[in-house]
Symmetry: C2
Subunit: 575 residues, 2 copies
């Protein structure tokens, strides 16, 4: 039976707790959101002792299920002021599951400025002084912790941004190579960890048994169907491994939906310079790696290693959304400069989407020139220095806009819009507007049916069908986040009649349950309703569920506008 | 018949408009709030072209009524995100009234960075290039405009803070000596004026007739009672003229309600160094002036001229709330340093309360040391430089707290609390929590009955009676703000059975009406309901109507806590 591990960061004490009946069947986002709703006051300051940071592996974590290694973290978000769940691959989810830890809950906060690290092993939980790590970037601390605690230890850490409690601060998770390429990125959860003065969490499952399913044969059979499904689908089986998510640069640009120069156009003249094809060419020329997984058991392998022009490691996990935010959005079109910005974000511990959009807003406000990659790198390095200029950029797009008196800021619930113009991909636009998370493409990725013809087709330029598309995807995504599966499995699941049933079969075999697909969708609805309720208590209303007025302008090349009413949008979250 | 003058700041055009029937009887805050509610979308960005800046004299402006020269300005606030009305004395209200201008409405905004000034005369409205004024502080531009347009011209202008569109930017109004000592301070209205690229508004009523009442004899008789009432009351007749509002430093400290070191105590050991008595001693030693009015027709004369140690003019309009914010809140206790901070705020165009609280938050966040006046002055001067550090301070307390990762920020609806601890003066605490304006002592000044025994007595330390006290004062204040009367008249009105009737008699004699005191209170209610409705459309809920969690701590010397529930507080705005 799994336990909840609570750590009082002020008193430096820990306690294992049996989960209540209401919590016992929950994992991942279902558990983080439920605990935040139950235990965190809606109106508290996100950096106060009343907030909690909840870390939970998904329901399938630690099993042999392919692509089940995602870890969720939740809190009241310093960025949005609402509830937040962020997740990433890495090693921690599987190790926590094997340690029998259903959730790790960081509570309270110290009054002084001394950091600690938390070291969790089979028979011990230690909260140790972290003086020697304070001020370090994620690259350095992860290397030091692997040297000390052993390679393939699970690590979560914050960089200088989290220590400064900046609103765009991420929590980075070590990838299977011990590098900070995986980010629990959005919503400033690194600032919550920083407010609790926890620099890193080390999770070592040495001596733990593998998790065995209740029905081993049934599990094995279901997982076999599962792996086959993922390998057969053109996106999960080939596309993502070949070019990573950066394959989307040319596709989305072609669709007229690549937001350019702070959402003034959906076409970027220099898209070819920052495309997945270009990235792969450079990687192959320079001896990098085009296909890596972010956790053991990944069969999709969308990650990569990107070397600089001298053939030296520069960054990894170089995503489409990062390339867009640092690139088309700012009009920077030098992939090496964009890779450096990505590396710095991973090192300092910053969400690349929020930070890239902030850099664009700094350009909009005249602080640096449009497209000036070197100036952007210099500005971003101010985060490490800790100057007020650095704090501005690290506090995200709305904050940067407010600092510079800019009213053209693409954000919902104070979180920056990602890499798809909502006027030309209306399904994902609805998700931006209404997701309890703020603007977030992963919360209901309408790009599937809008552009990629996965799981059907819905016209991206018209309103028709997009409310329903977003709603159904928001529900399915919440369920996938609770299972701890990589979101990219959705490509295969949406195109396969046996998709949802296969996931359900794995859950049933693992836990000796008899769930139906409807039960899993009900779980998705329940998660979203918990999140909506938290946001209501935090003061959110339907007026927060819309895009800013800048999207009333038509956007080339299709010259489509944002044309949903407030009340129409509410339908998409009537779960 | 008065007209509404609309100026399109993008097209540089102006038009006079007959007010609709619904608007024709309204003035001051009643008119600004009604126009904002009717014409500004609740969810627009406060710096976008959709916001409007409405400037309106009160109903008695331009008449012979004593203390009737207050000018209201309204907009969607860049600081709070809700509706805002700020008012100040000066010369503009009386001149607009004599020009027959019921309200001036600045609309739209230019796309380029060229500023204009607006010059309004009897027969002309000009929108002129302001290249020669751009970048100036308020002291310099007001002097230049008086030199050009004649002494005793009415002037409103913004300094460097408004040009940078900072959230604490004020609009300053020239006092009768042509100095920028009067501020439409709270809520960042200077940023709205800056977004519309209007550097100054010059109002010259040369050639206009004085306003004559419908019933001259009745008006004269009522005004005689009015002047007598103001002169007889100990506060309005003597106290304020003797020591200005700074008389409150010792009184509030004695009451245990002078918030010290970011609201950690209600007693400041060094209060004597920054008291009204000390201020008067220095003014008299150095050849300053202890009693000045902020507009012609003022009989209270709470303003003063404060000289530096060399006998040179340093600042004027040196208020209790300013001295508190720059002083007890930051623990600075050198009155010359505080006077310099006040002067810089007037010159750059910043709200002194918001800025002082921000400086304290900069101390809380470790950027400068507690009580270091020289460091505070240096930091404030960064606003003129336009550095990001300056933008941080000029964007107010919540922004500064967010920049520095501080969760102990005393603000409601993102506006800083003024100079009375809400745990020890609960009547004004209720107003802070629930006023549609955000934390604002002038919106319902419970200090009257809580501490000064004016208009009755209500225990400041207990809950009983304070909801009702705040509610009644919020209603009365809204009516006074509509009439264009100085709020300090309330001291006399609350203690005089004939008080409200005398105001009603002046209004009836002026406009040939037959209002009752109940009608005037109904006007107050209607204003507040308009403001609540705007805020609802801007996404505010009851969760925004409360104090931050830091006020759950007990505060010495009385060790009282903030103990109102969310639902109890709603009663205070059930108008």
């Amino acid at each position: 039976m799994s336990k909840i591990l609570r750590i009082n960061t002020k008193e430096k004490t820990s306690v294992f707790e049996e989960p209540s009946e209401a919590l016992s069947g929950l994992g991942g986002r279902a558990l983080t959101s439920k605990l935040i709703l139950n235990e965190v006051p809606g109106t508290c300051h996100p950096l106060s002792s009343a907030n909690k940071l909840v870390i939970a592996p998904g329901l399938l974590a630690g099993t042999a299920a392919a692509n089940s290694g995602r870890l969720s973290a939740g809190a009241k978000s310093p960025l949005t002021g609402g509830i937040k769940e962020s997740n990433s691959g890495g090693l921690v989810a599987q190790k926590l599951a094997r340690l029998g830890i259903q959730a790790l809950v960081l509570e309270n906060k110290p009054e002084n400025d001394s950091y600690s690290i938390i070291v969790i092993k089979k028979d011990s939980v230690e909260i140790l002084p972290a003086d020697q790590y304070q001020g370090m970037g994620n690259y350095e601390i992860m290397e030091k912790l692997w040297n000390k605690y052993g390679e393939h230890t699970g690590i979560m850490s914050i960089g200088q941004a989290g220590e400064q409690r900046l609103k765009a601060a991420s929590i980075q998770q070590a990838d299977p190579q011990g590098r900070p390429g995986r980010a629990l990125g959005r919503g400033g959860l690194g600032a919550v960890m920083g407010s609790k003065k926890i620099k890193a969490i080390v999770v070592d499952d040495k001596g733990c048994d593998r998790i065995s399913p209740a029905d081993a044969d049934a599990f094995k059979a279901a997982n076999k169907r599962w792996v086959g499904m993922l390998k057969e689908h053109p996106v999960t089986g080939q596309g993502l491994a070949g070019f990573g998510t950066a394959i989307l640069v040319n596709i989305v640009n072609e669709a007229g939906a690549l937001p350019t120069k702070n959402f003034r156009s959906g076409r970027f003249d220099n898209a070819g310079d920052i495309s997945g094809e270009k990235m792969v060419e450079l990687i192959e020329d320079r001896g990098g790696i085009t296909a890596e997984g972010c956790h053991p058991g990944c069969v999709i392998k969308c990650s990569q290693v990107y070397h600089d022009k001298d053939g030296k490691y520069l960054t990894s996990g170089f995503e489409y959304e990062t390339i867009w935010a640092m690139g088309a959005h700012t009009t920077i079109h030098n992939l090496d400069e964009i890779a450096m910005l990505d590396r710095l974000c991973d090192d300092f511990g910053l969400d690349t989407i929020e930070t890239g959009v902030s850099l664009g807003i700094a350009m909009e406000g005249g602080l640096i020139e449009w497209g000036d990659g070197k100036a952007a790198i210099d500005l971003l390095k101010q985060v490490k220095v800790g100057s007020i200029k650095g704090k501005m950029i690290g506090n995200g797009s709305v904050f940067t806009g407010d600092a510079l008196g800019v009213d053209r800021v693409p954000a919902v619930k104070r979180q920056a819009l990602p890499a798809y113009d909502p006027r030309s991909v209306k399904g994902v636009g609805v998700t931006y507007a209404t997701s309890p998370m703020g603007a977030d493409h992963t919360a209901g990725y309408g790009v599937t049916a809008n552009i990629l013809s996965v799981g059907g087709t819905v016209d991206p330029l018209k309103k028709e069908g997009n409310i329903e598309l977003s709603k159904n995807l928001q529900i399915a995504t919440a369920a996938i986040d609770a299972a701890g599966l990589c979101l990219f499995v959705a490509f295969a699941v949406l195109d396969n009649e046996d998709g949802v049933q296969t996931i359900v079969d794995m859950l049933n075999a693992q836990y000796a349950l008899s769930l139906t697909p409807d039960d899993v969708m009900a779980l998705g609805r329940s998660i979203l309703n918990d999140e909506k309720e938290f946001n209501r208590r935090a003061g959110f209303t339907k007026f927060d569920d819309q895009l800013p007025e800048m999207f009333n302008e038509p956007v080339p090349p299709h010259n489509t506008q944002w044309d949903f009413t407030i009340d129409e949008l509410q339908e998409s979250i009537n779960f």
